[in-house]
């Protein structure tokens, strides 16, 4: 599964994208975040305040309870600021 990070989430995590194999018990986006936070300080810092974290599963906006089973791409980013 490919994980993508954008804007300050990318800066704090220290990585823009990576291919990972998620543990079998990971079912939804919140599980992915919990798992990521065990992988180092950068991820802990990036996901310290979940009120400013948004996500997309397979390039569609998702929520923390969106299933990631069968997904190929999950992205994490702050609230968008285009326009």
């Amino acid at each position: 599964m490919r994980l993508l990070y954008f804007a300050w989430v990318k800066q704090k995590a220290g990585i823009s994208q990576e291919d990972v194999t998620l543990p079998g018990e990971v079912r939804d986006v919140s599980d992915v975040i919990s798992w990521l936070k065990t992988r180092g300080e950068g991820y802990e810092a990036a996901f310290a305040d979940l009120s400013v974290i948004r996500c997309a599963v397979d390039q569609e906006h998702g929520d923390f309870d969106t299933s990631v089973q069968g997904a190929t791409e999950i992205a994490f980013f702050p609230p968008v600021t285009g326009g």
Binding site: L4, A7, Q59, H61, V80, T81, G82, G83
Partner: protein, 148 residues
């Protein structure tokens, strides 16, 4: 039509291309957004980051939604990415319809939704320091009124 590009755009050229050979359009609305200095000369430049792939899909979804809600004859969204300077164009929305109300409303809807749904992020270089622009609550309120 959707375009995500680093290059600048020219409003006159885009409008001419959109209306060329057509005599059915009665109303055409354009909105363009520019890089704004915070009135104090401190914004040196801005970097527009985006999520390639999802950006185009999300803009297409937003445009599709506008076309389902209003009788549009044409629509165009151009959004720039990369490094921009104060005064530069960022975004262009064009809507065309037989009468003005649909074109006005659809253009407003497209901008409100683009600002809260399309995966772009602004980073300002201000006083020699780069910082990510925070989302504005009023943008969320503006999008909420369309009840998508």
């Amino acid at each position: 039509m959707i375009r995500v590009q680093a290059e600048d755009f020219d409003i006159g050229t885009e409008v001419a291309a959109l209306t060329k050979g057509r005599t059915d359009i009665g109303a055409l609305v354009t909105f363009s957004g520019l890089v704004r200095d915070a009135n104090d000369g401190t914004v040196a430049s801005m970097e527009l980051e985006h999520y390639p792939g999802m950006t185009e899909k999300e803009l297409a979804r937003i445009e599709q939604e506008a076309n389902e809600r209003w009788p549009l004859q044409a629509s165009l969204i151009i959004h720039r990415v990369g490094k921009l300077m104060p005064g530069d164009n960022i975004v262009l929305v064009v809507t065309a319809s037989p009468h003005r109300q649909a074109a006005f409303e659809a253009a407003s809807f497209l901008m409100d939704y683009l600002k809260t749904r399309a995966p772009f992020w602004k980073r300002e270089d201000k006083n020699g320091e780069a910082h990510w622009v925070d989302a504005r609550e009023s943008d969320g309120d503006a999008a909420a009124k369309w009840d998508l």
